[in-house]
């Protein structure tokens, strides 16, 4: 089970956090501080895994952004690496060659996408296409709402 997902920039700035196990706000800050300290200081050639408080944290760096997931001792680390990559690929398709800036300004969208990919700490959907289709379906409603709003305005005006 994935306990939390963390996106941290190379400078240690938090870009996204999602907690699937209960952590208080205080614990969360502590976890982020502790982990970004450990992970950001690791060299490029080392393992993408860190053992931490009896859990394992799998991380992968994309440009200046670290994607981290915390898992149980008996989970498959290589699989988690690919879940991370899977997520990044979906983000890439969605935003069109995603960059850190997309995630900074549209972090809520990154959350929506993550919600279609992982649920309750488990991978719920392994098809890229299905995830994107669901997110697009939600966005469509948003578009329609905007169009309606603007046409309403025009009508009034």
């Amino acid at each position: 089970m994935i306990h939390f997902v963390l996106l941290v920039s190379r400078q240690g700035k938090v870009r996204l956090t999602k907690w699937y196990s209960p952590y208080s706000q205080k614990e969360r800050s502590k976890v982020i501080r502790e982990l970004s300290g450990i992970i950001l200081s690791r060299g490029p050639k080392l393992c993408n895994f860190v053992e931490w408080r009896g859990f394992k944290v799998v991380y992968k760096r994309y440009a200046g952004l670290y994607f981290c997931m915390c898992i149980n001792q008996d989970d498959n680390e290589l699989e988690i690496l690919d879940i991370i990559h899977h997520y990044v690929e979906i983000l890439d398709r969605y935003f069109g060659s995603v960059c850190e800036l997309d995630l900074i300004f549209n972090f809520h969208k990154a959350y929506y996408i993550l919600d279609e990919l992982l649920i309750a700490g488990e991978l719920q959907e392994s098809s890229k296409r299905t995830v994107l289709r669901l997110v697009d379906a939600q966005d469509c409603i948003v578009e329609i709402a905007h169009q309606q709003a603007s046409s309403l305005k025009q009508g009034i005006g």
Binding site: S9, V14, L16, K18, S24, Q25, S29, L46, C47, N48, F49, V50, E51, G54, A63, G64, L65, N76, E77, L78, E79, L81, D82, V88, L91, D92, Y94, F95, G96, S97, V98, C99, E100, L101, D102, F105, N106, F107, H108, K109, Y111, Y112, I119, A120, E122, L123, Q124, S126, S127, R129, T130, R133, L134, D136, A137, Q138, D139, I141, V142, E143
Partner: protein, 950 residues
């Protein structure tokens, strides 16, 4: 589409994000965020805020909280947003509450009603949003409120909804197993869902259910095997492919389940051999995901009933992992090795130098994993080297969590395999000295017990030797400046019991030392208490031996100080000491017998010594005592209370007026625990009792084992301590026996394999190994004369070992040849999938496309449509080997060719829309837009704009 629709937010919000991005210090960032919080607090409580504005405020709150600040003042507004009718607003509300609230938050009760309503919505997107929230927010108390609706949604026409409903039920199961225990059949049914996504999701709850109770799912083995086979043969829609692997995440989940089902079950395992063997052959070891599956295969192989051929394939993969340059693969290789050596212990030997390289690697993660492996392969021959290494590493690290773990492992290994008393005492001293306060107190109690009981059942002199050496080393260590409290307790206790036992040290010397301890650590009451009691013992032994007792002046002052102590415990001990000193030899002998810490104290729980008095009273006309349970007209109070308590915990809140009676909650207390509390004679002094209970309750102790804090004493054959304290040995031994039996025939195969590898590699390059490493390898791996065969470049083989390897060459060259041809001509019994994979790559049914096809009027004719019928027919044949009826449904579900299915057409257009990557125009537009918003890439963050995948 995301980016052009992305910047809906106001300038204000973008400025906030920008200024945070440019903050140069944490303090500056905090100041900005606190300002923002003030602004939001003011704005959010204004009346009549337009919905869009409110939505933005909530997203800003999410942002603030993400940066680690408290946004709880706005939670209620997020909750209110979930009540909104518009999905657009509702979705933001749900996102915010799932991020803000933990399952025990008070506000959740306000959302339950909305969730109930939304689960009934006609719009499947609303239902999906509600289910997302259900997974995060619904707690044990509120499960009954939504459970019926969630179960109903399992039959929803949209697969996305079914999938989320399954995951929600899985979450419920994790929170409260009894709440969904009656729904197991629903999970089984969903396994045959015609959408692969739903089927894949169903594997999650099934995995959990099977972990708890393997036996009731044995009938599914065949189904799981056939699903895995179909997945591996690319029968699932192409959309599930990932990096050219067919649905790898589903494969991994299935392998995990098979590992559980096949564990210790020969018949079930035999069903799996073929498919796992196929996976070993098919998996692409050049991609990460391929290796993930291979690793999972190894886990599966090491868990199910052993099979020589599969073990061989597993060993091959492991050596490939270990030889890889990637640290990740080395790590996985070490882990896999740890799993496999349980079945074939010889396999470690051929990788000895690779293991040592990993042990000396600068990468801490890899190092720790290797220590874990060493821990698993410790024997009495290599225990000294391994424990010494562990202690050295333990001293070098600061991570308390890991320090604790490795310390307890050292202790455990030392207890099990110690070659000599001397070494054992020294090792324990080192562990206590360097990790004293992190070591569980039970470890200390255990050590005291071991010293008291000794380990030689026959040899008393060995015991006293052990004690003398302990006393000596402790007296030496007391000279050190600062010692951990736990260690001091052990030292005081041992000095009290055995300080004067061998007559080497005088009572005044030992008491002097004890007084020093009490003085030096005067703010540690526990240590002081131990010291005073030790003093009392020493004096008591002196008195009992009819020697003259001279109280040292420092002892006098200590006693006087403690007589006036604020701690009642210390005060009492001091008074006792005073009293004992005043007694005569005979009395002292009775209350403080020498070396009696291990004698059983009989507690007469029936109070039989009162019988005479009771009878006398009854004769005089007193009422006989009636036990509580036999009293008529009274409810069984304890039961009643239990029920009451249970009611309170499971139905704190009621959402419906009446409920059907639920199946009873299964008692999680193992019967053994109940039994142990009824043990009548308390076998030992109080402080030892806890450590006894651990082994007497196997199920509890196995739980404890996972936390890795306590010693795992159950089921381990002990070299130290009384053999009676490992009652679990009988069971664990038998299982061990089983695997050993299975391996006997395996051994032959794996050893030939190792030989081929040896020569194969040695021909590849000359290897040189430093003598130091060789020595270490020899001491770790049982001093085998075989040297390493790793193709490590830049190493040359030493003379002796070249000869050694050369002598192998002629013998095994045949085997090398065999190995080379093996992949070309696999054994016929494994070759049951005749058709080449090419045919099965054909376009398949994507249910999403089916539905899309229904909606989409611009259908494009597809050439593939003509092809699909015969592929479908091909599936229809497959259920032949499947006895489970449900499973047949899955296949037929998959094979139903939907009329409206138009693969290709719709997706390609979408693809074009989405794949913006190579289009420079888009990137430029994006860049321009960003600049327009006033956000420039700052100099301190130069790769902000670089693509994540670039």
């Amino acid at each position: 589409m995301g980016s052009q629709g992305g910047f809906y937010q106001s300038k204000e919000f973008l400025d906030l994000v920008k200024s945070i991005g440019e903050a140069r210090s944490k303090a500056e960032e905090d100041r900005i965020v606190l300002n923002e919080i003030e602004t939001l607090k003011r704005r959010i409580s204004e009346p009549d805020i337009p919905k869009r504005k409110m939505k933005e405020y909530i997203i800003r709150l999410v942002y603030v909280e993400m940066l680690g600040h408290d946004a709880s003042f706005g939670y209620i507004h997020a909750v209110k947003m979930t009540h909104d009718d518009s999905l657009l607003v509702k979705r933001t509300g749900y996102l915010a509450v799932t991020l803000f609230l933990n399952e025990d938050h008070d506000l959740i009760i306000l959302i339950v009603n909305t969730i109930q309503k939304d689960l009934k919505s006609d719009n499947y997107l609303v239902v999906c949003a509600a289910l997302n929230a259900v997974c995060k927010l619904i707690n044990e108390e509120t499960i009954p409120a939504v459970l019926p609706q969630v179960v109903e949604l399992l039959g929803h026409p949209k697969e996305a909804v079914r999938k989320k409903a399954i995951m929600a039920l899985h979450r419920f199961y994790q929170k409260s197993p009894s709440s969904v225990s009656h729904l197991v059949s629903n999970f089984r049914k969903r396994l045959c869902d015609n959408d692969p996504g739903v089927m894949g999701a169903t594997l999650c709850p099934l995995f959990d259910l099977i972990t708890i109770d393997v036996n009731s799912f044995k009938d599914l083995v065949v189904s799981f095997v056939s699903i895995l086979k179909q997945v591996a043969e690319r029968r699932l829609p192409k959309a599930y492919d990932y990096h050219q692997m067919p649905a790898p995440f589903i494969q991994i989940k299935l392998l995990k389940i098979l590992a559980l089902l096949g564990s210790g079950d020969k018949q079930a395992s035999e069903n799996m051999y073929t498919v796992v063997g196929d996976l070993f052959r098919k998996c692409d070891s050049s991609s990460n995901i391929g290796n993930a599956i291979l690793y999972e295969c190894i886990c599966c192989v090491s868990s199910i009933y052993p099979n020589a051929k599969l073990l061989e394939s597993a060993a091959d993969v492991i050596s490939r992992f270990l030889k890889s340059d990637s640290h990740n693969l080395k790590y996985m290789g070490i882990d896999a090795l740890g799993r496999l050596i349980k079945i074939s212990p010889d396999i470690a030997e051929q990788h000895q130098l690779a293991v040592i390289d990993c042990l000396e690697d600068p990468d801490d993660t890899l190092k720790r994993k290797t220590f874990e492996l060493l821990y698993k392969m410790t024997k009495s021959t290599n225990v000294e080297v391994i424990v010494d290494r562990m202690i050295d590493y333990m001293i070098s690290i600061n991570d308390n969590h890991y320090k604790t773990e490795i310390a307890s492992r050292c202790v455990e290994l030392a207890e099990q395999f110690a070659p000599s008393n001397q070494w054992f005492i020294q090792t324990m001293n080192k562990v206590f000295e360097h990790a004293g306060d992190l070591v569980n107190i039970k470890v200390a109690h255990n050590l005291m017990r071991l010293i008291a009981e000794g380990f030689g059942e026959d040899d008393d002199s060995a015991d006293s030797q052990l004690r003398s050496s302990a006393v000596e080393s402790y007296l030496r260590i007391l000279g050190e400046p600062k010692l951990p409290s736990v260690f001091l307790q052990v030292i005081c206790w041992v000095l009290g019991e055995y300080g004067t036992a061998d007559g080497k040290f005088s009572a005044s010397y030992i008491t002097g030392k004890l007084c020093d301890v009490a003085e030096a650590y005067s703010n540690d009451e526990t240590v002081k208490a131990y010291a005073v009691t030790a003093l009392m013992k020493i004096y008591a032994f002196e008195i009992a031996a009819r020697r003259k007792v001279d109280l040292l002046p420092e002892c006098h002052s200590l006693m006087e100080e403690l007589l006036a102590s604020h701690s009642t415990d210390l005060q009492q001990r001091a008074y006792e000491l005073q009293a004992v000193i005043g007694l005569d030899a005979h009395a002292v002998e009775c209350i403080m017998p020498s070396d009696a810490s291990c004698e059983d104290i009989e507690v007469d729980k029936g109070l039989s010594f009162l019988n005479g008095y009771v009878e006398e009273s009854i004769e005089k006309g007193a009422q006989p005592y009636i036990p509580e349970s036999e009293r008529s007209g009274m409810l069984n109070i304890s039961n009643f209370r239990n029920q009451d308590h249970h009611e309170a915990s499971s139905h704190g809140l009621r959402f419906e007026a009446y409920e059907l009676p639920k199946p009873t909650v299964q008692s999680r207390i193992p019967p053994a625990l109940l039994a142990s509390t009824e043990l009548v004679p308390v076998p030992e002094p109080m402080y030892l009792r806890e450590s006894y209970q651990t082994p007497s309750v196997p199920s509890v102790s196995s739980d404890a084992g996972s936390s890795e804090l306590k010693l795992r004493l159950d089921g381990v054959q002990k070299k130290w301590g009384k053999p009676t304290y490992s009652p679990a040995t009988s069971t664990s031994n038998s299982t061990a026996q089983k695997t050993v039996n299975g391996v006997t025939q395996v051994d032959g195969a794996s050893s030939t394999n190792s030989r081929t590898r040896e020569t194969y590699d040695s021909r590849k390059s000359q290897v040189e190994i430093s003598p130091e490493k060789q020595k270490l390898a020899a001491s770790l791996f049982g001093g085998s004369s075989k040297t390493e065969k790793r193709p490590a470049t830049g190493h040359k083989i030493s003379k002796a070992s070249t000869q050694m390897v050369k002598s192998h060459v002629p013998k095994s060259s045949m085997e090398v040849a065999l190995e080379k041809t093996a992949p070309v001509q696999p054994a016929p019994d494994l070759l049951d999938l005749g058709e080449p994979t090419g045919t099965s790559v054909a376009p398949l049914v994507d249910p999403f496309k089916q539905l899309e096809g229904l909606l989409d009027t611009t259908q494009v004719g597809s050439a593939a449509a003509a092809k699909s019928p015969d592929i479908m027919a091909m599936y229809a044949d497959t259920p032949a080997g499947i006895h489970d009826k449900d499973d047949g449904d899955l296949l037929s579900g998959l094979s139903k060719p939907p009329v409206t299915n138009m693969p290709g057409g719709t997706t390609t257009t979408q693809q074009e829309q989405r794949s913006k990557g190579p289009n420079p125009k888009d990137s430029l537009e994006k860049d321009a837009l960003v600049r327009q918003m006033g956000v420039n890439p700052s100099s301190q963050n130069p790769n902000l704009f670089r693509d994540l995948l670039g």
